[in-house]
């Protein structure tokens, strides 16, 4: 007994002492990164947490800008030009680009990478983002068997020519997305099947990449450490040796880690602290809109007047002030932060008075079901809406809240009347917001179809003149605001903490940024 007590006491002392020799992390940037990434394969990743790591590990033809006002800067491509009709883009690649294992990168690398993401066997969710390429969709859907018919070619070793389905003015914007990044085909094949969904290449510690950083170690549910890639063509400009990504599911834990000096940048601010003036707090506007998804097939909601009245009865300012504590009241679906897309006159059309009989009829159909997930403040928002609609319109709502996957199941099956959800834009163009409400869009969960809206968007896609195109998109936006198949609530912002040691941390509308020019000053 005594022996054991001594042993235990001694080992506890040893434990206490070992804590004194804390290591200071030098020249490594420690970032809180929300959820644990599922994969680091750029072609299979869908979440922002994954993209935050992937954009440091990989580089596409174009890269994220280092300054806030530029839209992109050269990546693997040094120069590019489009034909006059904007249907063909030709890229000249740099000759000194290499994978981290030394394998050179040329136009063929991109051809085989694009072939992989479009291949039906891989069934990549984001393959849809490459459908601007001629015949890409047909190849992905299995209508074309030969990849040669897809609008991609490599006339010389360092020239890549991309032919599009139709003129696309914002093509360069769109292809900045991580789904367009090259992948190390030679390495993937070494680890398993090229199109195998469960190929372990992207979770192995020897992962080969081509960006400013390479994977050092992935300790699941702890941290992902990436280290400067010396084989990167622009390695000398990178000042931070290592970046560490910490997954934090709990924002309070993340906040404590920041307070204790264990993190330089957080992913979020706990929602109850969002309206406090914390040291190092930043609120960067995002291209993201929280909105109410309406089931337009539900009889009570198929009348635009009802939808407009529901929208007009919402006091967005009050919701922001007392519940969500972040963001801006949304007067249309596309956020005001969208560059080169002036807000114009967005005062919503005057709210119609709903006749009493109509309200009675809506309530007679049973209370409208407001389906929300049990995440963050959704339930509080739902309760506030219930109160506002009851008071302003006399319309009764029943709130149904559930766990997230069950919630998604209800949405996908159309088993809801109203729902509260958000949309994050993929690129800096209004089309990423408006396009999802086209009848044919896979993302259109509102079950709303409007042929004039579809026509306007189709027309905008082929307009090569930017001014004309924006005018068309504005018309579509106005139509969306007038018909209100969905009710925009807030334009989101990213609220997070940045330590004063971090310099040149760029704001980003898509929450995707280059870490190339970030510096640490101790």
């Amino acid at each position: 007994m005594h022996f054991w007590i001594k042993t235990i006491l001694l080992s506890s002392c040893a434990l206490l002492l070992s804590s004194c020799g804390k290591q200071e992390s030098r020249n490594s940037l420690r970032i809180g990164n929300g959820a644990e990434p599922r994969t680091l394969d750029p072609q299979q990743a869908v979440s922002l947490a994954e993209a935050h790591v992937i954009t440091a590990l990989f580089e596409g033809l174009l890269s994220e800008p280092s300054t806030d006002d530029a839209l992109f800067e050269p990546g693997i491509a040094t120069s590019w030009e489009a034909n006059e009709k904007l249907t063909q883009y030709s890229f000249t690649l740099r000759e000194n680009a290499r994978w981290s294992d030394g394998t050179p990168i040329n136009a063929d690398t991109f051809l085989s990478s694009f072939e992989r993401i479009l291949n039906p066997q891989l069934s990549a969710q984001n393959s849809e983002l490459l459908f601007d390429i001629k015949n890409a969709k047909a190849y992905h859907m299995g209508e074309i068997k030969s990849f040669d018919q897809v609008g991609l070619s490599a006339p010389s070793e360092y020239t890549l020519v991309i032919t599009l389905e139709q003129p696309t003015a914002v093509f360069l914007q769109k292809m900045k997305h991580w789904s367009w990044f090259p992948v190390p085909v030679h390495f993937i094949e070494q680890k398993g099947g090229l199109y195998d969904i469960a190929n372990p290449w992207a979770s192995s510690n020897d992962l080969v990449s081509n960006g400013p950083y390479m994977l050092d170690r992935w300790q699941r549910n702890q941290r992902i450490t990436i280290a400067k890639n010396e084989a990167y063509w622009d390695a000398p400009t990178i000042s931070i040796e290592r970046v560490e990504f910490y997954p934090f599911e709990n924002t309070q834990s993340e906040y404590r880690a920041f307070l204790a000096g264990q993190l330089d940048i957080t992913e979020e601010i706990p929602s109850e602290l969002k309206d406090q003036k914390l040291d190092g707090a930043r609120a960067d506007p995002l291209l993201a809109t929280s909105y109410l998804l309406l089931n337009n097939e539900f009889p009570s909601l198929s009348d635009p007047n009802v939808r407009r009245a529901l929208s007009a009865a919402i006091d967005r300012g009050k919701l922001i002030k007392s519940i969500v504590k972040t963001g801006f009241p949304a007067s249309r679906f596309t956020p005001a932060a969208m560059p080169l897309y002036p807000l114009g006159d967005t005062s919503p059309p005057p709210a119609p008075e709903l006749p009493r009989e109509l309200v009675a009829q809506i309530n007679a159909n049973g209370p409208l079901r407001l389906v929300v997930s049990n995440r963050d403040v959704s339930i509080a928002v739902a309760e506030a809406l219930q109160e506002m609609w009851r008071r302003e319109l006399g319309i009764e709502i029943r709130i149904e809240n559930m766990e997230f996957k069950s919630f998604l199941d209800r949405l996908d099956n159309g088993d809801y009347d109203i729902s509260y959800i958000a949309w994050f834009g993929d690129y800096l163009d209004p089309f990423t917001f408006l396009g999802i409400w086209q009848s044919e869009s896979q993302y259109n969960r509102a079950r709303w179809e409007n042929s004039s809206f579809d026509k306007l968007l189709d027309q905008s896609a082929t307009q090569a003149d930017p001014a004309q195109r924006l005018e068309t998109l504005h018309k579509a936006e106005d139509l969306l605001t007038e018909q209100m198949p969905i009710i925009p609530l807030f334009w989101k912002s990213k609220d997070y903490l940045v330590s004063p040691h971090v310099r040149n941390w760029p704001a980003s509308l898509t929450d995707i940024r280059s870490y190339k020019h970030v510096e640490l000053k101790h």
Partner: protein, 305 residues
């Protein structure tokens, strides 16, 4: 003794099979699938993924295939971590939970047993009431209150420990305390009850009558019988401790099995749910067998049966 183990292990087979069957059908009846996302996924992509993971096969085929996989330890790729299997996940996260559990157990016993013994020997005095009130408080305060408080106090204000992570030895202290103090409270109460019962027994009186010092009477004679309730409590407690605590692991960023256990269910990763549930079940069975064995060793009366 050997016969006892064989019988107990034989009994566990139908138990595990029943658990497997119930879990298999429960995860499949939960609404929502592994591939749905906030951003709607195209139906043909979901279809292709379902096909790849074999979810389109008839249910009985899936049932027996998955059973075979668990019997042969040949696990399929996971939907929530492509490229990894349940074996990989349990293999990397269980040792962490086990380590945390052992530290927490040490905390529980180191704090619990002496407190209980002290309270029992000084029954109905301040030395009894004070620690027992603390123990009551310990039971009532959930880990999600104690954990953040400890992190805030020792991590943020005093700066003695890191508030999260599982890298250095010192990172073990706060999570082990958080998890252990809760069990320590139980252990203290159980020890006190057990000791009070034993201290009134004849053999203790005999020991005292022999003129043995009180210290020997309490620690050598009474304690052995007095900790019996603690030992039977430790079985399930041990399984609970080593299989990981979702709350403590989330608060302190501990990469243990508890987080996977919860996340697997939330992300509808059928294979990971099944494997972690079976693993947990096997652990509980093993822990209970171990406790029965320990009780036989501690209590000669049981040996004769």
């Amino acid at each position: 003794m050997l016969r006892f183990f064989l019988i107990r292990l034989g009994q566990s087979i139908p138990t595990l099979l029943a658990i497997y069957t119930i879990t298999f059908f429960m995860v499949r009846s939960a609404p929502g699938g592994p591939f749905s996302q906030e951003r709607k996924v195209a139906p043909h992509i979901i279809e292709a993924q379902m096909e790849y993971y074999g979810f389109n096969d008839p249910v009985y085929v899936q049932y027996f295939r998955s059973l075979e996989q668990h019997l042969t330890f040949d696990f399929p790729p996971l939907t929530s971590y492509p490229g990894l299997t349940a074996g990989d996940i349990i293999g990397e996260s269980f040792p962490v939970s086990l380590e945390l559990g052992i530290w927490a157990l040490l905390v529980a016993l180191l704090f619990g047993i002496p407190t209980g013994v002290l309270a029992a020997t000084k029954q109905n005095t301040a030395a009894d009431y004070a620690p027992m009130s603390m123990a009551m408080l310990g039971i009532c305060l959930p880990t999600f209150v104690i954990g953040p408080l400890l992190a805030l106090f020792f991590g943020v204000w005093l700066g003695w420990f890191k508030v999260s992570g599982w890298f250095d030895l010192s990172d073990r202290i706060l999570p082990a305390l958080t998890l252990g103090l809760f069990y320590a409270a139980y252990v203290a109460r159980l020890t006190r009850v057990g000791m009070l019962e034993v201290l009134g027994m004849d053999y203790v009186r005999t020991a005292r009558a022999k003129g043995l010092p009180e210290r020997i009477v309490v620690l050598k004679h009474a304690l052995r019988g007095g900790v019996m309730p603690v030992v039977s409590f430790l079985g399930p407690a041990l399984a609970g401790l080593v299989s990981g605590s979702f709350v403590v692991e989330t608060i302190f960023q501990v990469p243990g099995l508890g987080r996977h256990f919860v996340q697997a269910a939330l992300s509808r990763d059928h294979s990971l749910v099944l494997s972690t549930v079976l693993f947990y079940a096997a652990l509980i069975i093993l822990a209970n067998v171990a406790v029965d064995a320990a009780q036989i060793l501690l209590n000669p009366k049981l040996r004769k049966r």
